[in-house]
Amino acid sequence: MPTLTIDGKQVTVEPGTTVIQAAEKLGIFVPRYCYHPGLSIAGNCRICLVEVEKMPKLQIACNTPVADGMVVRTVSEKVNQGRQSVLEFLLINHPLDCPVCDQSGECDLQNFYMAYGLYDPRFREEKVKKAKAVPLGPTVMLDAERCILCSRCVRFTDEISKTGELGIFNRGDQAEIGLYPGKELDNRYSGNVVDICPVGALTDRDFRFKARVWYLSSSPSVCNGCSQGCNIDLHYVLDRPHLANGARVMRVKPRHNPEVNQWWICDEGRYGYKFIDQGRLRQVLHRGTEISWEEALGQMAAGLSGARTEGKQASVAVLASAQLTTEELYLVRKLFVDSLGVAQCSAQVPAKPGTSDDFLMKGDKNPNTAGAELLGLMGSDPARFDLIERALDGQVSALWVFGHDLVELFGEEKVKRLSEKLCQLVFVGSNGNGTSRYAHWVLPSAVYAEKDGTFVNCHGRVQRIVKAFEPLTDSRPEWEILLTLFRRLEIPVPWKGPEEIFAGLGAGIPAFAGMTYEKVGLQGVHVC
């Protein structure tokens, strides 16, 4: 195994590693435009120049394989001069668009210019004009002038999405990226080219002009779009509600997790954040009239306690949801199954599988199906599927629904009858849907961005979601609603919040043995 020295530090790496990767291992950052760890090496941007002893010229770190005894300097007068010259070439035809460019603020041209450039421009000629604001597809806008031809996007469509829509056309300073004739950048992962574009050439049409990136706050989370559980960063703005008509979340960016999604995320997950700010339930409703949380939860608790004392547990049914966090599902189980003895408690519904592929998208569109399974709430008993039929038969008098749209699942007619038949139809959910229209009680709950918790993805990886901001006024996270019910029913539970519930989960459920939020971290761990 070759051992080399980079900036005076020794490192031993696998043969075939490149210098940039070896430097990464040492925590030394080498600037790059065309190099991306998830893509093949192109070596065309030349910004990653480093000095290698006994080599007459500067070498590109991204495409120089390591050799034993190599001595590399990533910082030196020569290296800086080299990088400065490279930048000067790259910026020759780059327009001075920064104020109107969406990339500005997270642009590597800006960053590296401030770090290695800072030269007096010598270019006095006319810049080459190219097409601006060209939509490449439903999600991506191209500004050919801003492109520095790093070819990351081209390699992405070739290697990752394997759709190959993009290519580089023409030669010299007329070269520009573009679509092959008759093609459109409309694959399921198209949004990723915006993330990997180091400059403002490819911008997200959804995010375009919405906000400046320096307005954004970021919070790590996990996509709730499917059971893959891709790691994401939620980018949100709380103090400038005018930017997107009051919406808080501005965009979703994938977060690197080598075990789950690497650097990528599908478009369905990327643009699936809008429900966080749209169509949210804002009031506790009892048959259409507003009611306070205290009163509503008091009546809920009274109903449940009545069922318990009269031994009518069989008349209560609960439809939990695999959209809930593991903590909340645990509370659902504790409350309804363990404490009240409700037998009909399941998170399983006859939902049709959504789009899926062999990469990131899974057909199961719930992020926590595996978690519900581990807690015994997904039961394979097919009899549970006829819950609605039994309810219509009059065997069930109280039905709790967490988030599901029964109208979509069973049809409007049935739900209408159900609503008439049941004594109590409780809907706990964040957004209005068919069920919330027919439910007797509507308890508005928080979305995943507004609460702490964990999801277990389809590969059994326990991953944290982190509360980014407060729930909307008058909505509460499900765990808080459930803990209040515990208190109202005078069932003692030792927990005050998700972290403690998860620790309780770690103590009580073998699959989560010994887990805490600290151990799960931001990259997640596998269930035992």
């Binding site: 104020p99 097409a131 604001a133 060209v134 400038r240 005018h242």
Partner: protein, 212 residues
């Protein structure tokens, strides 16, 4: 540092100094009283008796650098020069600027403000917005000082008043041709780019708003 000066005996007596002070003010009093009286009879008009400016009839001359109410500069066809880069919104220490950016049909312009509001009730008149603007799109040279309103909402300027400093609230009609968010007649989107270019007869650089 200026140290306290020891008072002389004469000054410490206090009374003479009081008389001296009163003498000074009284001299002004009688001189000005005489001049005021003379002015009443049309005499000695050349010698001013007071330094007062009778604002608002007689506005005070303003320095060229004076920062007064804001305005948005316009392009030839009457649309704002502003490209909606939000740098002023970013730099504003009082956070009184509200911008919503929209897509401009000319791809070389890219952005323009669909909404541009300044809340003068919050503005501190620091002039950073003017300083930071890359397009010379906002200026504080209207020489409007009498910014007053009966409500907080009245202090909020929208794009109409900023484009045309002569406008005063309440605005009865909207004359802006380009699409913008408008509080007049409801609050929806008003105007269209076709109206702008048909009116002036000019053609934007790329007549096709979306080139592809």
């Amino acid at each position: 540092m200026r140290r306290k000066r020891e008072l002389t005996f004469w000054e410490r007596l206090y009374v003479p100094e009081i008389i001296r002070g009163t003498w000074l003010t009284s001299r002004h009093f009688f001189r000005n009283l005489f001049l005021h009286t003379a002015h009443r009879f049309g005499l000695l008009k050349g010698i001013p008796a007071a330094v007062t400016f009778q604002y608002p009839e007689q506005p005070r001359p303003l320095a060229p650098r004076f920062r007064s109410r804001h305005r948005l500069t316009a392009r030839e066809e009457g649309t704002p020069r502003c490209v909606g880069c939000m740098l002023c919104e970013t730099v504003c220490p009082a956070r009184c600027i509200t911008i919503v950016a929209g897509e401009h049909p000319d791809p070389n312009v890219e952005k323009y403000p669909v909404r541009f509001d300044i809340d003068l009730g919050v503005c501190v008149y620091c002039g950073y917005c003017v300083e930071v603007c890359p397009e010379d799109a906002i200026r504080m040279d209207t020489n409007i000082l009498d910014v007053a309103a009966y409500s907080r909402d009245g202090m909020k300027l929208d794009i109409h008043e900023l484009m045309d400093p002569a406008l005063r609230k309440p605005l009865a009609e909207c004359k802006l041709k380009f699409p913008h968010r408008c509080a007049i007649h409801g609050g929806g989107e008003r105007g269209s780019w076709e109206a702008v270019y048909n009116q002036t007869g000019s053609d934007p650089a790329g007549s096709d708003p979306i080139r592809g």
